[in-house]
Each structure stands twice: as C-alpha cells, then as structure tokens.
Symmetry: C2
Subunit: 486 residues, 2 copies
C-alpha cells in the first residue's frame, strides 16, 4: 500500500493484539518495522502524524512518538517538518529470497586433528585427566573467595596481559626449585593451558610455509597450532631415547616441538646426548625449540627430569607448562617461559594479543603455590599415581593376553601399549559403549594410517578397581576383532 | 679428568658442601650432572662402584645408587655389569659457547595494533571499561561458590568445547528477548571474550591473502585477528549511517567486520538500508559478516537496535557477543551465534580447537542470567550510564573550548569527539600522568597517520565528579600543545 489507510490500521491492530511481553511502544515499533521490511509499507509512503496515529490506535501520543523515533534512529523512517515517510531501500525482498549461505570452510580446517570426545563423568582410561576428585576443592573455593573478598572489584578489570605478577613470581620460584629453571617473572606469560602457548609461539616466531618438526606420534594440540598458521609439519620418529632425527636430510625448521621429559604419548625421556645435539642444531639453524613440559612433575622411577631450558646458557628454548595436569583441566591455566631477549621483544605483541583476564583465579593460584598447597598436592598425587601406575602394570600382566609392548612411561598419568595388527580406532570406538575411553595410539601420528597401533591408557582419574575389568573388556574387544582369536 | 680420583672427590665434596635445601641424593645427582655437562668427567670415563663412592663420600649406598640411576635414566651414564661409564656426547661445550639466540619475530608481528596500557586502578575515561564497582560481586561469589559446592569435582574436567549447555541455553533465551535473535543453544559457542570469536571466524572461514573489510576507524581486536591469519584488510569509512562502501571498486571480501548497533569508536548506528544492502552484498559475494554487538544493550535514546542476524532469514552473519562490557572484563567470556548450517559444519573443528574450560564460571553465569540478576544489572547500568552520558555531555559543553564535534554515540559507555589539528596521541600520552586514559581517535585507523584526530572518552567506569576536572585538564593539554592558543 502506498497511502496507509484502514488496511494499515487493521494490520497494526492485529500485530498489537498478538503482542507478548513487550511494552506497547515496543510492539508498535516491531509491527511498523515488520510492515516496512516485508514491503507492506512502501518506500516514500507518508505516515499519518503521531496525533492521528495515537487516536486511531488508542495509544498515548508519547508511545507513538517513541516508536517512530526509534524507527527513525534505525533508518526505517525519515522525519522532518513535512511529516514522516518510509525510507528508500528498506525492504528485505531481495535478501530474503537467498537460500541459507553455502558453507565452505578454510582449507586448513580439514587438516586439524580429530576432536577428542569429552564426557562427564570422565570415563575410565581417559588420557590426560588428573585425579580431579582428589583436588582440594574446599580449600580452592576458600582461596578464590578470599581473593575476591579482599581485592574486590579491582580484580574485575583487565590485568597485565602477561598475567598477574604475583602468580608469575610464584611460578618462577617453583620452577627454580623443581625444574632447574632459573628465570624471573618478567620472562613468564600466563596462557590458557599449554595450547595457547603453542599458538603464541607459532604466531610470533614463524611465517606461513615454514617447517615445524613435531614428534611422531605427538601432541595433537601442537599440530592444531601449526595447521592454524600454515606451517608444514615434518614428523620425527620416537624411540626409547625420545625424538630422533636425521640432520642431513631434514629441511631447516623454524620451530621444533618436543616433550623431552616425558614424550607424549610414547613415554620416553629425551636422552642427555640428544638434548644437547638438539640444542646445538637449533642454535645453528636459528630455530626455536618449544619444550612441552606437561606432566614432568610426576615420575615414579627416579626424580623429575630437569628441563632443557635450564641445561645450557642462552638455550633457544621456549618452555611451556600447564596446571591442567597438576591441578585440574577446566582451570585452563598454563604458562610460557621465554628467554630474556625474546620476552622483551614480544612484550608489545603480547600486549596486543592478550587481555589479562581470569585475575581472581590467577591470584588464588598464586596463593595456592605460595602457601605450600601446590607442593603438597603434587606430592600426594605423585604417590597416588605411582600406586595406580603399578596397579595398572599388574592388571595388564594379568588380563591382557594379546601380544603387546608397554612403552617406556614410568611417569605422568598414562601408559602406552603397542599392539600390532589391530584396528585401534575401532577398539576405542567400541570401548566407549562400556564407559572406557583409552585413546588409539595410531591417532597421534601425522599419518594416522601408517602409525603404530596400540592404546594409550590414562590412569590419572581411573581408580584401581576399574583396571582389571577394564582391561578384560578391552581384551574381549580385541579378541572379537580378530574373529575370536586372542 | 679421565679416571676420577682424589680430584673428583674433592670436587664432589665441595659441591655437596654448598648444597641448599636439596636432599643428599639430589645434591649428588646435581654435582655429578654438572661435572659431566661441563666436561670435567669425560665421555667414556668409568666411575667407581657405588660401594666405593658411598664410602668415600660417607653416604649410604642407596643414596649413591639412586643418584646414579637417575643419571642413567637421563642418559648421562651408561650402567651395565662391567660398571658405570659416562655416556658419549653429553658435554655442553659447543652449545654453551653460542650467544643468546637472535630474535627475529614473524613479519606479521609488526602489523599488530598497538597494545593498550592496562592499569589498576583503572584511570578515568578508559574506553571499554564498565562500572566494575557496581557489579554485584558478593552475589557473584555466592553463585560461583554454590556451583562448585553443588557440582563438586565433576566441573574440574574438560567440558563441552562449545561451552556449558546451561549457559548456552540461557544466552539463547536472553538473545530472543533482548536482541531479536531466534537461535538455539546448538548455534552458540562460548568464547574468551569477543576476541576469540573473531579469531575463530577468521581461522575457520578465510584463507591467507583473502580480503577482510573493516570499519575505519574500528575495533583493534578484529585487526589483530586478521593480521594473525594473513588477511588483507580494506578499511571502509564510517559516517553517521555507519560503515560506507563503494560496491564497484572494492575487491570481494571473505569477511566483513562491522559493529552495526553502535559503531566502534564512531558511535553511529548502521542504517536499515545499509544493513539490507550489506546483507545482499555478502550473499552475492559469498562473504560472511561478523557482527560485533559489543555494547548494544546500552542505549540512551530509544531502545537497543535489533541485531543484523535476526533481520532476514538465512542471514550470512556470525554474531559476536561479550560479557566484558555488561558484567566485567576479567571474566573473559563472550559467545558466537552461528547460522545452523555453519554451526553444524564447524562442530568438529571447534572440538579440535577449544577445550571447554572455566566450567564453574560458565555455570555461575548461567544462574546469574536465569535467576534474573543479569536483566536487573543491565537495567541498573543502563540508568547509570545514561546519567553519566548526559553529565559528560554537560561537562564537555562547559569545559571543552576547543572546536570539536561530538560524534553520534547515544549509547554504550564512550563518547567520541573529533578535534581537528591536534596530535591526539601526544595528548593521550601526556594525560596518563594525570590518571586520565582517553584513547586517541586516530589510533583506531588502519593508517594511524591519516585518521581523524580526536579523543575517545570512556565514561562507564568514571564517576561524574571526575568529568569536569578531567575535561579541564585535557583542554589545558590541548592549549599547551597549540602553543597557548585554545
């Protein structure tokens, strides 16, 4: 219609009769807006004055005026001394006819590692999951509440992009004592778990198309970071001395990702001679080593292995730590330790990229460390996991009858067993029906079809009573897959 | 030395005498390790048996054996029936001589926006900062504690990568009522503020080298995301109807970033006709619009402007929301609303990229919304900010004597004033000394040297008593910069 008459009022009245919880003004606004968008009120069409409209609709003139003002503000109406008109080109005809937008994802998306299913409660054998029911939650709640009570709203704003200073000081002290790393708070950046650390290193230290060495098998999170930034990954095999490489053949990397203290998922420790050789190689080729120290606090044979970062002066190493394994995963807290010159050079970028959030959690964690709760919790978990480690070894000896090798792994919270000639991903898929969530060893390889098959059994959050029945069930699934032959 | 004799024991004894808090075993391990690394104990050198060592050092044999075992585990020593020898190539000579690694950052790092200084307490006029001292913190503490008390350790593990279902349901309900968006929880992904939303959209929906349209001036966070992923940014000017573009000249974008409800920092509302035209353009060119709805809950003239996402069916729009402005920044909580097909297509990638953390915070926020506290807080803040907005306008009229234009901005928590012919970044720099932190308008442009100069004055967290003295101080700085002429 061009000149709104009775039909217009009928339309408006109908819309207003059907209004829900909105105010009259809002309902009138919505009805007029819809009438314009759908083309019932044509461009250029002149509306009656607010006095007439108010009379016709039996509304107050204020209500009508407010709705007209809003539509004018948003550009549906033009108001001037001559009156109120519908604006040009405010009908959605054309746009409305289009089908749902076609979805074409970026090419890199297809190269991302497979997502890990997450369930609550956590199924038995889930790798990477600490004993969350042993975490001193009442104490944590008290500390968190104390921080917010004492600091109040000051902690609600943005903080230092690198993280709360008190937490960075506490971490530096802990690293000196437990990991042989001599650093100060200015070298530490708090991150969302270790994953954000890999993302930041990749963003800051590599160009698209550069080469990244990764351990093969290795940590999926690192691969997702390298995929995101368009790096070419070269997989390095892993044996009982950790990552292994052929110097002469390999193209020079920009980044070398390694988990030297406890290779994930293989479990081996990068030997002293390979550590030194890798450090020398990185120096020669101007590469950075990203040292993922995800669970080195837990070792059951001997002591935690010192970090590569502290091994030589001026090591070209960025150290990544996480509290996901030592405290709890949903805390999403980790950190990077950068060499002094790198810390200085990246400060403006860190300021542009990070926002300094989760301040109360960071302050609570600083107290948790400084007051000694962290060291106590680590010691308790070390005892618990050591016990579970031995119990799981016993359960494997007793219940797993298929030929297998337990790969080195006297530490952390998982055991990796190599089993030749099984479809490990099928076994893992079937095991989910029984509330068991081991991971397929082959899934950690760059080429998942070429990898060693086997199972990664997390025992951090699995009680010993679940070990024997769980392994029996897995044995049964393997037997079934092999057509009844164990 | 090749065969350790007296000299060796002297060396060990000296190291052990200087031990700190370590156990004897740890001290012995460290002393031996250092002797090997620094080359005092040569490769192939044979150590005395543990019995002899224990006698010489006056330690228990267990202590000595444990230290030797640890060094063997780490590859410094080789032990077999013939005895204990130092391994090959475990001296750090070569690596140690290298200088501190040269730092060459990725090229893109130089294109990142400048970092924003963050101070506690927050200085007056800081943009983007809500009234954090009005946030109902005791209530929040109770809700957070209640969630952890009731749910216990179940919340400590990884959650749904897209975020807690209860929060996503609460957000969907809120969006339907307040933003005219009809969506369900499966379309919502919880993010670390709006920034992670832009990062994810860019990662998932564009290739390096693609074009992104950005508003110029515009939000720095979007620019950092586009820089990270190697997009080419094309700046679109902004006027009183929002973003403006020339269809024929511009190369086709993959992504169009806009803040239509309240352009940042200009303050204008994208008009209905431009919204429809932009939607049609995105459909034709198969681009995605990223709609940044950062502070639209706050409008002081009229009602919040409905989102573009709900404007037409099948809109090619990803909607970004944040709680940084409506609750508090250090919460670091935001969300994306994806069209259904996009939500479905990106689910595996979201599962690979996100970890589902901060579960207790997310549950507490769900309760905060569902129990009506969120709506009440929004209403209270709307009243507060409306008042502050008017008071700041008055202070500007009374105290700012330099020629200036107040750009549209009847909403949100900042006012932008254009002032020609000043060095706005110098003024901002000088104002910091007086605990004032307005932002320089020119700093929000792609080419910061070409931008309109002026000041962005945040009033969300600035009490009215600071307005007049603050503006007087700014006036004085401008007068001073102009050599005494106002």
């Amino acid at each position: 219609m061009n000149i709104p008459g009775d039909e217009f009022y009928t339309l408006l009245a109908a819309a207003l009769n059907h209004r829900g919880e909105e105010t009259l003004q809002r309902a009138l606004y919505l009805a007029l807006r819809e009438a314009i968008l759908c083309g019932r009120l044509l461009s250029g069409c002149r509306l009656s004055g607010s006095r007439v409209l108010a009379q016709q609709l039996n509304f107050s003139r204020n209500t009508v005026n407010a709705a007209l003002e809003q539509l004018t503000l948003e550009g549906y109406l033009l108001r001037n001394r001559q009156g109120t008109r519908v604006a040009q080109r405010v009908q959605r005809h054309a746009a409305e006819k289009a089908p749902e937008p076609a979805v074409t994802l970026a090419k890199r998306v297809s190269q991302l590692p497979a997502p890990v299913p997450r369930n609550t409660p956590v199924p038995a054998f889930t790798p990477g999951m600490p004993a969350i029911n042993y975490f001193p939650l009442p104490l944590w709640r008290r500390l968190y509440d104390r921080v917010l009570r004492e600091e109040g709203s000051a902690l609600l704003g943005y903080g230092d992009p690198a993280g709360e200073p008190s937490l960075r000081v506490a971490i530096a002290r802990h690293l000196a004592l437990s990991r042989g790393i001599d650093c100060d708070a200015s070298q530490i950046v708090i991150t969302e778990g270790a994953l954000e650390g890999v993302n930041l290193c990749t963003m800051l230290l590599s160009e698209p198309g550069d080469i990244a060495w990764v351990e093969d098998p290795g940590y999926a999170g690192a691969k997702s970071a390298f995929v995101k930034y368009g790096l070419t990954m070269v997989g390095m095999p892993v044996d009982d001395e950790g990552m292994r490489w052929e110097e002469k053949n390999a193209a020079s990397p920009s980044l070398i990702f390694t988990s030297p203290s406890h290779q994930f998922p293989h479990g081996s420790v990068l030997s002293a001679r390979r550590r030194l050789a890798l450090l020398a190689l990185a120096q020669q080729r101007k590469a950075w080593i990203i040292e993922d120290d995800y669970d080195s606090e837990f070792r059951y044979v001997g002591e935690p292995v010192p970090a590569m970062l502290g091994m030589i002066k001026n090591a070209p190493v960025v150290y990544l730590g996480t509290f996901s394994k030592t405290l709890f995963p949903s805390l999403r807290m980790g950190f990077m330790v950068l060499p002094p010159a790198l810390a200085k050079a990246t400060r403006p970028a860190i300021g542009a990229l990070l926002r300094g959030g989760h301040r109360a959690e960071q302050r609570a964690l600083a107290l948790f460390i400084e007051e000694g709760h962290y060291a106590r919790h680590l010691a308790a978990m070390r005892r618990l996991y050591r016990k579970r480690y031995r119990q799981l070894r016993e359960a494997l000896s007793a219940e797993l009858h298929v030929a297998h090798r337990v790969l080195a792994g006297e530490g952390g919270m998982h055991l990796t067993i190599a089993i030749d000639g099984i479809d490990d991903r099928a076994i893992v898929e079937q095991a989910r029906a029984f509330q068991l969530a081991p991971a397929a060893l082959s899934g950690y390889y760059l080429d998942t079809k070429q990898g060693q098959t086997g199972l990664v059994l997390g025992y951090g959050n699995t009680s010993a009573s679940q070990f024997a029945p769980g392994i029996r069930r897995i044995q049964a699934l393997i037997t079934q897959q092999r057509g009844g032959k164990a």
